[in-house]
Symmetry: C2
DNA sequence: CTTTTATATGAGGATATCCTCATGTTTGTA
DNA sequence: TACAAACATGAGGATATCCTCATATAAAAG
């Protein structure tokens, strides 16, 4: 019924660049894709736009990414890698600090990242994304939040760490999306309310 | 750059049905659109699929909806109307009850509605939706939640009703989306955590 | 019954997108 | 330098979607 879908199949394999020129090209192509996906969303983005934005020809784009799906997948992986790295770095910085401080820092950085890289949400929530991949991505991020909560002093009740991490991850997305949804009059108090609520909840658990 | 977009323009006007046969047809067409949008999302849905699903010809579809955008707009309006009606009904039922009960009932019905009508989220979050329309829709729904919170006993602090409503509306969406995102092991505890958090927050405000 | 208006239908025009491919250019290497 | 392999390029084929339109039927009006 549809032309360019592929959940289980997608037989084509991406060709990896081997020379330095190819590496730069791929990077530029992903940057271009990032811009286009952010502006138009995954489905409305066109391969021609992406190539143009990267200063490359359409043929060059297809040399490395045999499908638009492959572009999105590569971008998704790239951002996931960056995010995980960021969270690991953060874990080192805040080890031993109280929950409130840790969650504050986590919120601040994560939300900033999502705002600065809207393409991540665009490719991370596209309809064609394999649900298994999506779940695994979420699980990875949750895992890092669990690690953050596990190194907090005084410690959080072990039993609730997992569900807390899930809730926090969702709230972060809400906070990021909230900026676009409502206008300033609604948004600022709502974000404040969100933080107060979460902090109150955390205070009740920990100590 | 793109073929079927229209944020400000969209000059074409939809023709309203005047005979009973036309009314039925429009209803059937919207039902078909609902099913297709829910399964494929707005962008991947095709007018041919919608017409087929409604048991109508493609020409008949275009008779009443000159554009796919018009179909989505009509569906959006229809669901908004239904939701507002539901919330008004609920307001009558829970008047004078404590916050916790009201919020529980609100969550239950709203989330159920969103789960039963996934097309509403599909058309409500499509990229081509005019931001002004989106904001207005959110404002309408927030307004009804404000009304609900205003008729609670004992009363909630007036100053926070607005931001509470905004937060609740977002949490409802999270709860609805959460079902699809994570698997049962994560999801159930996360929803429980969300409710506990919100209730704790409300208890702290009200009495 | 006749006329007029609303509704029904599906082939096909216009367009846009994904992707291929034959050919040319650069880069690394022997 | 000479050769091979990686990379670059853009015209155009295949396809799919949106939407139009000429024509046909049902239903209300006169």
């Amino acid at each position: 019924m549809s032309s360019q879908n592929s959940s289980p199949p997608a037989e084509k394999t991406a060709k990896e660049p081997s020379r330095s020129r190819g590496l730069k090209r791929v990077s530029a192509l992903l940057d271009g894709a990032s811009a286009v996906f952010a502006e138009a969303g995954y489905e409305a983005a066109t391969m021609t736009q992406i190539a143009a934005r990267a200063g490359a020809s359409i043929g060059s784009l297809y040399q490395f990414f045999p499908t638009k799906e492959h572009v999105a997948a590569a971008l998704h992986a790239r951002h996931l890698h960056a995010l995980v790295g960021m969270l690991d770095l953060l874990a080192g910085e805040v080890r031993g600090q109280p929950v409130e401080a840790v969650v504050d820092a986590l919120f601040a950085r994560f939300v900033t990242y999502l705002e600065d890289n809207p393409a991540f949400l665009a490719v991370g929530e596209r309809r064609s994304l394999d649900p298994a991949v999506k779940k695994e991505a979420r699980a990875r991020l949750r895992g890092r939040i669990v690690a953050l909560l596990g190194a907090v002093e005084p410690p959080v009740a072990e039993a609730r760490v997992a569900s807390l991490a899930a809730v926090i991850l969702h709230l972060i997305r809400v906070a990021a999306l909230l900026r676009a949804d409502d206008d300033e009059n609604v948004r600022a108090p709502a974000i404040a309310e969100l933080r107060i609520m979460l902090k109150g909840h955390l205070a009740g658990q920990g100590g």
